[in-house]
């Protein structure tokens, strides 16, 4: 039985994700080879799709990347920070709305969009975090959810920017270099670059002094506090950074779809992100990416066979809860160590 205030206890660290001195064991270099291969595959994907005549899937892959960024940022809060936020879609939605509104007002400078997105989602995360982080466990879950709901209803009420029907934009963020985000291949590479930067930063963060401190706070806050860490400030910092990254994911998503509606802020959107993280692997570097890819590919495949794809997705998720307790990353790790 779980104690009421310990919402989630992380599994004991295994494998290379939680850092530690880089030992040159064969598993580590195997992992490195896998990452290089994966990166090559990701770079070659659009070319491959063009050759196979399946160009439609390039924009699908772009969508997977956007979700992967958002899910990875949630994994930072939820997995590494141990803060079960049920309102992460708030920041994705803020980023999407800030960029969408700027474009619809005729401001097309991509740099300005990025700056405004980071600023707005960062400030929102700072305020929401400062209030929510005073609560624990279930109450933290509910209060983050409450803030996301407030933004959801706010977005529904701003008639000037689409209200409940959503906001269509014609132009895209101008990012210079003669690149046009309307082109799925261009968008794919931009999103890939952002995701790669996030993963790189996360991989550097976890074994750093700061990262170790955050993990220590997650595992035992009182002990970390006794050791002299400013626990509140560190958790708050993680919350804000994750909110900003989620905002960038939102800014990307509005550029991809040319559309943003209050649904990006709905609690089921936060739930979906959470499902991706849990599905992929909580507190694992690749968890967010794996979960986003797995869930979206599953939906895509199922929806080509049946209109009741949600039904079967649900069963797959249930099977994951019951039989793969550490998500897909846990399964993969199981293969490697076997």
């Amino acid at each position: 039985m779980t104690t009421p205030d310990a919402a989630w206890r992380p599994p004991p660290p295994r494998g290379g994700d939680t850092g530690g001195p880089a030992k040159r064991d064969p598993r580590c270099s195997l992992g490195r080879i896998a990452v290089v291969l994966l990166a090559l595959a990701a770079l070659a994907l659009p070319w491959l799709m063009h050759t196979l005549g399946a160009s439609f899937y390039i924009s699908f892959a772009g969508r997977v990347l956007v979700y992967a960024i958002a899910a990875t940022s949630l994994n930072l809060v939820l997995g590494y920070g141990g803060m079960v936020s049920f309102g992460h879609a708030a920041f994705v939605g803020l980023g999407a709305y800030v960029t969408g509104v700027m474009i619809s007002e005729g401001v097309l400078n991509g740099g300005a969009h990025l700056l405004a997105t980071l600023l707005v989602s960062g400030v929102a995360a700072a305020v929401i975090g400062a209030i929510s982080l005073r609560t624990r466990g279930v109450y933290f879950i509910m209060i983050t959810l409450a803030f996301a709901q407030m933004l959801f209803y706010l977005a529904n009420s701003i008639k000037g920017y689409g209200g409940d029907e959503g906001l269509n934009i014609r132009a895209r963020s101008a990012i210079g270099f003669g690149l046009d985000l309307k082109d799925p291949t261009t968008f794919y590479f931009v999103a890939l670059a952002v995701l790669a930067a996030c993963l790189w930063a996360l991989a550097r963060f976890v074994p750093s002094r700061l990262g170790r401190a955050v993990l220590a706070i997650r595992d035992d806050e009182q002990r970390a506090e006794a050791l002299g860490f400013a626990t509140f400030r560190l958790r708050w910092l993680v919350f804000v950074v994750a909110g900003m990254v989620a905002g960038v994911a939102g800014a990307l998503s509005v550029n991809q779809q040319g559309y943003v509606s209050p649904n990006v802020l709905h609690w089921t959107a936060s739930g979906t992100l959470m499902v991706m993280v849990i599905l992929g692997g909580v507190a694992t570097l690749w968890g967010g990416v794996l979960g986003a890819a797995a869930l979206l590919v599953l939906q895509e495949v199922l929806s080509s066979y049946t209109s009741h794809w949600e039904f079967w997705t649900g069963w797959v998720l249930l099977a994951v809860v019951l039989f793969a307790r550490q998500g897909l990353a846990g399964l993969l790790r199981g293969f490697k160590t076997r």
Binding site: I131, V138, M142, A146, Q149, S157, W309, L318
Partner: protein, 305 residues
């Protein structure tokens, strides 16, 4: 006629609050006793409404529809509890969220497969007219019926929890589950029963609100979050808290939706007022919750004290 309007809206708020209580009562016990986050509670509300609408079309009787929906949904809830949810009690909150989120997907699409995306459900003919409550104040008789049923069930629930052996066991379980088990109570079986009652109450709310709102797939998702807000405000695991929280939330939501709009019309152009009123009302509920948590982090009536 502002006083009459306020009275009417207060009645509406009370009525919505009592329906919220039907959902929150089951949710708070599951949450309080088993420390389990059940996102699929709203789906039971949906199932109840659909079954009621289906039985109504079969039998032609509203009463039979509602009673049948209560029985079938309660059985369905108990089946769900014994086959799946029971295994989740010992898991962490994240697993519970993932599993019950999956259940929402399954039940939404499952209902769609069996019944379609929506079903017509209308109030009985005899209750379609208004009733004169005060001179100048007529109130829909169907809403009055909901009010009566809601109040009756609230009183019965209160008596059940505070005056019966079953209630004492449930309260003991909410206060300290391990100790209750150590005293020889079969908390598992007790809990299947509680879950069944909770599911039945969901069906009551779904069937009665069906004619006012709409019986459609996804109807449980928004009301679920309101029910969570209620139990967090009231204090997790407390029936009294759930009742008071429900009525507060119901009134804030309903009064905000209509009265605020009236007030705003004085200052704003009408199209802005009609948009801002409901938005502010919806937000007010969450602001209210944030304030309660800031002042009393365990809710108004914490079960564990």
């Amino acid at each position: 006629m502002p006083t009459l309007l306020i009275i009417e809206q207060l009645l509406n708020g009370l009525q919505f609050g009592l329906m919220l209580f039907l959902l929150a009562a089951g949710l708070t016990l599951v949450f309080g006793v088993m420390d389990m986050i059940n996102l699929a509670h709203g789906s039971l509300y949906m199932v109840g409404a659909f079954v009621a609408a289906w039985l109504l079309s079969l039998t032609g009787s509203f009463v039979l529809g509602v009673l049948g929906a209560i029985a079938l949904t309660a059985v369905f809830g108990m089946l769900l509890e014994t086959t799946l949810l029971r295994t989740l009690y010992t898991r962490d909150h994240l697993s519970q969220v993932l599993a019950t989120f999956a259940l929402i997907l399954i039940l939404n699409d499952g209902v769609k497969m069996v019944f379609g995306t929506d079903l017509p459900l209308s109030a009985p003919e005899a209750l379609s007219g208004p009733v004169q409550l005060l001179p100048g104040l007529s109130y829909p008789s169907y809403r009055l019926l909901i009010l009566g049923v809601g109040l009756t069930i609230a009183v019965l629930m209160y008596l059940l929890v505070t005056r019966t052996r079953l209630g004492a066991l449930v309260r003991a379980g909410a206060a300290n589950r391990v100790m209750t088990e150590a005293m020889g109570v079969n908390v598992k079986r007790l809990f299947t029963a509680v879950f069944g009652i909770g599911a039945g109450l969901c069906a009551v709310a779904g069937a009665l609100l069906g004619p006012l709102l709409a019986v459609q797939v996804g109807m449980g998702e928004n009301i679920l979050i309101l029910a969570f807000v209620v139990i967090v405000i009231g204090g997790i695991g407390s029936i009294r808290g759930a009742l008071i929280g429900s009525i507060l939330v119901g009134c804030v939501d309903t009064l905000g939706r209509t009265l605020l709009q009236h007030v705003l019309r004085e200052f704003l152009p009408p199209q802005w007022a009609s948009a801002a009123g409901p938005a502010i009302a919806s937000i007010a509920v969450y602001v209210f919750m944030a304030v309660v948590l800031a002042v009393k982090p365990q809710g108004l009536f914490p079960a564990r004290s």
